[in-house]
């Protein structure tokens, strides 16, 4: 059972969280090509090591960015979206 830190509520059991999407892939807006749109919808980095991911803390409903290591599972930071 991991412990993740919600930027507002603080550390909680991993069952209170839901992985949404990898961070830093903004929604392309001005008529992206098919490939750009497909990349936004589906492409994934799946880094082996440090990663920035958008997570949701289910009880409070806040989306936030969590920096963690996908191999060692250490969590290094969590910051609110804005």
């Amino acid at each position: 059972m991991q412990t993740f830190p919600c930027p507002f509520c603080g550390p909680r059991d991993e069952t209170e969280f839901h992985f949404a999407v990898e961070a830093d892939h903004p929604r392309p807006e001005n008529a992206p090509s098919d490939l750009e749109w497909a990349a936004y919808l589906y492409a994934v980095d799946a880094p082996q090591g440090p990663a920035r991911e958008i997570w949701l803390h289910i009880p409070c409903g806040e989306y936030f960015v969590m920096s963690r290591n996908t191999r060692t599972r250490d969590v290094t930071a969590s910051e609110a979206l804005r």
Binding site: A38, Y42, A43, V44, A46, R73
Partner: protein, 415 residues
């Protein structure tokens, strides 16, 4: 040396001293006609079919650890083709048909046990979804049918029929040809046959980079030195996205941990493979008597081959809801594999990035059942440079065109 009761008896008289190594432990040469990255079932099968079907023997399979040590050695050994879309059925039933002849073809007993599989439904709405899938299977020429409650109860007599049962067994989809096989034997069987045909199987060899010249693959860097080749097959499951990224290819692959569990062995108590839609837990009993149990993913992106407690509590409480008497059993072993999950839960087969590079990945939780097909199709692509009709729909480009093959969406059941 041929494996048979006769050679086994003859060796009995000589203290089993006459057996040869099952596969030759090769050192890498500096060039090959084709190189396959990943020494799991798919990689070894590819090498076998390259040599057997296409006559290409200057081939190497590179495995960073020990062959069969990745997902091939970490799955719950279920084999089935109870899929919804024709493209999926063509792929998985090709694998099942090849499995049906594999022990004889490889002269290696993979212990294919076609004991049948039941996907169990608990509400009228779920029974309708099962009927939708059963009819799709029949239309695609696969032996699937809707099974009613009483026949289902005969298949799993120990299933929960208590007054306060949470998920009543109302029937479901039955595939008779589905079953289980010994996973290690599939890897070792293909390795032995490929090695006998002259393929180099190289363990302890990790690929660190892919070299390109004039838009075409020209070789790879490994911890055992550089190797030249202009045909490269990637069949390394969770490690494939990292390798593809080196040639600028971003794949739609999330890597999650999928856990599996084995109980202490008991006398036979379960004769089929069973999945409950309600709990999401599925299981079978190995020939040694252990229950082999699986369930949902740990939905936390990872590359560590282990899972965590919440998923274990989820899967095992689901198991005991299905079979309360199994509360007598003890957990003997628990482990995890890193599965490469694609948004439409179908694999990615086909060329990508520089010429000469071919992908066989994205099998997610369903790779073991597809090994013979994955091998046949990747071998075909490496040998001919073109898609096989069965692999074509699973090309990476489907994500651009939107023609996904989404089994979970189509069938209404998470795969």
């Amino acid at each position: 040396m041929k494996y048979s009761a006769f050679t086994l008896a003859r060796e009995a008289l000589r203290g089993q001293s006459g057996w040869q190594p099952a596969w030759v432990k090769a050192k890498p040469r500096d060039a090959y006609d084709a190189v396959i990255v990943g020494g799991g079932g798919h990689g070894l099968a590819t090498a076998y079919y390259l040599a057997k079907t296409h006559g290409l023997t200057r081939v190497a399979v590179l495995e960073k650890g020990w062959i069969g040590g990745g997902n091939t050695g970490r799955n719950t050994t279920v084999i089935r083709s109870n899929y919804f879309y024709p493209e999926s059925v063509a792929l998985y039933d090709l694998a099942l048909r090849l499995y049906e002849g594999l022990s004889r073809e490889l002269n290696y007993n993979i212990m294919l046990s076609q004991r049948g599989m039941l996907i169990a439904a608990h509400t009228p709405a779920q029974m309708e979804i099962c009927n939708r899938i059963a009819n799709a299977m029949q239309l695609n020429g696969v032996d699937g049918r809707l099974m009613e409650a009483d026949e289902a109860a005969d298949k799993v007599p120990l299933a929960n029929q208590g007054a306060r049962v949470r998920y009543k067994l109302m029937g479901g989809i039955w595939q008779g040809r589905a079953g289980v096989a010994r996973h290690d034997a599939v890897a070792w069987g293909y390795a032995r046959a490929a090695s006998a045909l002259g393929v180099d199987i190289i363990e302890g060899c990790e690929v660190s980079d892919i070299r390109i010249e004039a838009g075409r693959v020209s070789g790879i860097e490994t911890n055992l030195g550089p190797i030249r080749t202009d045909r490269l097959g990637l069949a390394a499951a969770g490690a494939t996205p990292g390798l593809a990224a080196k040639v600028g290819v971003r794949l739609p692959i999330h890597t999650y941990a999928l856990q599996a569990f084995v109980s202490e062995p008991v006398k036979p108590i379960l004769d089929t493979v069973l999945l409950y839609l309600g709990t999401g837990t599925y299981l079978s009993q190995s020939d040694k008597g252990e229950l082999v149990i699986g369930g949902g993913l740990d939905r936390v992106p990872t590359h560590g081959q282990h899972g965590n407690l919440p998923a274990q509590e989820q899967v095992l409480s689901g198991l005991l809801e299905m079979f309360p008497s199994f509360g007598q059993l003890k957990l003997l072993r628990q482990w995890g594999g890193v599965v490469d999950v694609v948004p439409d839960s179908s694999p990615i087969l086909g060329p990508a990035g520089p010429k000469g590079l071919y992908l066989n990945c994205g099998w997610g939780t369903g790779g073991f059942k597809a090994i013979p097909a994955g091998g046949t199709l990747l071998a075909h692509m490496l040998a001919t440079g073109a898609h096989h009709p069965i692999s074509k729909p699973f090309d990476l480009d489907r994500f651009r065109t939107g023609r996904l093959i989404d089994e979970a969406a189509g069938s209404g059941i998470a795969h």
